[in-house]
């Protein structure tokens, strides 16, 4: 068990892929823990246009049945938190234990002056949600319903 400190970089760690109706993104990271963090940030950038580091911190705990459903549960939780706590998540410090995830979400308070240039995400789709490891790179592809 270890804590991974995610570095919040300005550079985009994800790219948008072609999808007619919704938003599909590909996220890359050097570890599975970082992949969760970067996936959260990708979701927030899609929703709010920017996801800058801030002083807000929130504890997060989710479970899945496998890594795919764990990612689904985690991103769904980030979506929930962002809406209910009015938090724009810029990353996460997470630890993984099998199909359990525990950690801290980092970010800033939502502001209608700053965060209106994205689009509302309704949910995280299971369709074609994939996580692939290639040597030292983990790649996530996921579709956000908008």
């Amino acid at each position: 068990m270890r804590w991974t400190i995610t570095l919040i970089a300005d550079a985009m760690s994800f790219e948008e892929l072609e999808h007619t109706a919704d938003i599909r993104v590909r996220v890359k990271a050097g570890s599975l823990e970082d992949l969760f963090s970067e996936a959260a940030r990708a979701l927030m950038v899609i929703m709010y246009g920017v996801a800058d580091p801030g002083t807000m911190r929130l504890h997060v705990e989710v479970q899945g049945r496998d890594t795919i459903s764990l990612m689904h549960a985690f991103l769904s939780e980030v979506l929930f938190v962002s809406e209910v706590k009015e938090m724009v998540v810029s990353g996460a410090k997470v630890r993984l234990s099998g199909i359990d995830l525990e950690g801290v979400l980092c970010g800033e308070v939502f502001s209608r002056e700053k965060h209106l240039s994205g689009m509302e995400v309704k949910g995280i789709s299971f369709s074609d949600l994939s996580i692939v490891r290639d040597n030292h790179t983990y790649t996530l592809e996921v579709t956000f319903d908008v």
Binding site: E18, T20, L79, H115, M119, G123, L129
Partner: protein, 477 residues
């Protein structure tokens, strides 16, 4: 056309059993030659995937606005038998009862001398966009009332009149809603968002009746050429989204528990009679009711603005009808000569019940149900009526809109929100939004031509033209 798909009528195509392993029934979809070019292989694959689900009856169907979604394709319709059948959030979507309603006014274009002012007043009255907060102050009990009684809750609390309820699909509330199946998380999201328009493709539009095709039906629906109307498009907001997320997880486990094999995890489902299936239905119906209440409250705000600005009486503005686009419902249909109760899933499709169908108000009984098809921003919207052919061929269903052809990524790269806004202004269509990015994303060019989609459902007979509306002012979330 994709290999293996055969044409079975001027506007109808069949996906044979075997196109995807495990299909139980053929798939069928409606498209014209012009729209065939827009058909995505992924959407056909999803249509075929639906045909593998247990208890599916007759056909897996898609309307001419078919496009690639998740789980079901957008435009997908499927009915499941009560004994063997299943229920799936993938056949409803995250935005449960995303739907549309249209309100008529006694005004004509010449009355709209202050269109910009009207649009600004509507924008101020209706909470719109990401993070917008409700002006309603709901407690837990009132939210439960909303989840149980839908539009009836809103009318009871002064947000409408009795006639409004009769002019909603299902009278604005699905029976057997079970608010106890709606999680605290969903309630937390729903509480501050009731009576808000939302964002994305949701909109509020001032329109004029441009053309009447069927005078008798138009009379029954209470509209005439030149009349000003208001269209409202939104759904169950974060509450419905959370219900879908919560129950997707439950139904994923149920899929495994009941030994159901599926080609897509988003099609996670459970038998209709199972505790998991019943819980999802109860929560989904609650969310649908929340959406009906939501549209009712928004329409009340719109009526308030028109009443103030034009000195109109509330009762002079009539709800023509309200339809759901994303929902699963129990309905009776004639199948193989027998009347059978089924669970019809419509995901990006509209109910289009024909004349004499149960559940229609007396004033629409001879004509059939009003069917509202919103166009993309800046293009025509249509009012149609349901038909016997729809009852026979599509479980009383038709299209729900134009259907996207351009990804949002491409739209953002190719189109400037400011330029789209200016181009529409030159056509006399004013747009009001918090951010121009939302305009590029929903520009007319990213959708199939709504005229052609509607022509297909008219020619195929699964609904028939009544009137065409053109936009004058649009509020985008």
């Amino acid at each position: 056309m994709l290999q293996g798909i055969t044409r079975i009528g001027p506007f109808e195509w069949e996906v044979p059993v075997g196109f995807v392993a495990g299909m139980r029934v053929p798939g069928r979809f409606f498209l014209s030659d012009q729209l065939v070019e827009t058909l995505e292989p992924g959407a056909v694959q999803q249509l075929a995937n639906v045909a593998t689900m247990p208890g599916i009856v007759k056909n897996s169907l898609a309307m001419p606005d078919i496009h690639w979604g998740y789980g079901f394709p957008i435009g997908g319709v499927a009915a499941f038998g009560m004994d063997e059948g299943v229920i799936s959030p993938g056949g409803v979507g995250f935005d449960i009862n995303c739907g549309v309603r249209i309100l008529s006014t006694p005004l004509s274009v010449k009355d709209l001398t202050k269109k910009r002012e009207l649009l600004e007043d509507l924008f101020a009255a209706v909470p719109t966009g990401v993070g917008a907060k409700s002006t309603l102050r709901l407690d837990a009990k009132e939210l439960t009332g909303m989840l149980t009684n839908g539009a009836r809750w809103a009318v009871k609390h002064g947000y409408g009149i009795e006639e409004d309820i009769r002019h909603c699909e299902e009278q604005g509330a699905l029976a057997n809603a079970d608010p106890s199946a709606v999680s605290q998380k969903a309630r937390q999201r729903g509480m501050p968002q009731s009576g808000t328009l939302g964002a994305g493709n949701h909109f509020l539009e001032i329109q004029v009746v441009q053309e009447i095709y069927d005078q008798e039906a138009a009379r029954a629906f209470g509209i005439s050429a030149g009349q000003i109307c208001v269209m409202i498009h939104c759904g169950s907001r974060g509450l419905g989204h959370q219900v879908c997320t919560d129950h997707l997880k439950i139904l994923e486990a149920a899929t495994k528990k009941f030994g159901i094999t599926l080609p897509d995890r988003q099609l996670a489902c459970a038998p209709l009679s199972s505790p998991e299936g019943r819980a999802y239905f109860g929560a989904m119906a609650s969310s649908a009711n929340y959406a009906w209440a939501n549209r009712q409250v928004i329409m009340h705000m719109v009526r308030g603005v028109f009443a103030r600005m034009f000195s109109l009486a509330y009762e002079e503005m009539h709800l023509i009808y309200d339809v759901a686009h994303n929902v699963a419902k129990f309905e009776e249909h004639q199948i193989d000569g027998r009347r059978i109760k089924v669970c019809v899933h419509r995901k990006g499709a509209t109910r289009a019940f024909g004349p004499g169908s149960p559940n229609l108000p007396a004033e629409y009984d001879q004509v059939g149900q009003p069917v509202i098809i919103p166009g993309s921003m800046g293009t025509s919207s249509y009012l149609l009526h349901g038909t016997e052919i729809a009852m026979d061929r599509t479980f009383g269903s038709t299209c729900h809109g134009a259907g996207r052809v351009m990804s949002r990524t491409k739209a953002k790269k190719q189109l400037s929100g400011h330029e789209v806004k200016e181009a529409l202004a030159r056509k006399g269509i004013l747009i009001r939004t918090h951010h121009n990015g939302a305009i590029a994303d929903e520009a007319p060019d990213v959708y199939k031509p709504s005229d052609e989609v509607v022509r297909v459902v008219h020619e195929a007979g699964i609904s028939r033209y009544v009137a065409r509306f053109t936009p004058l002012g649009v509020i985008k979330g």
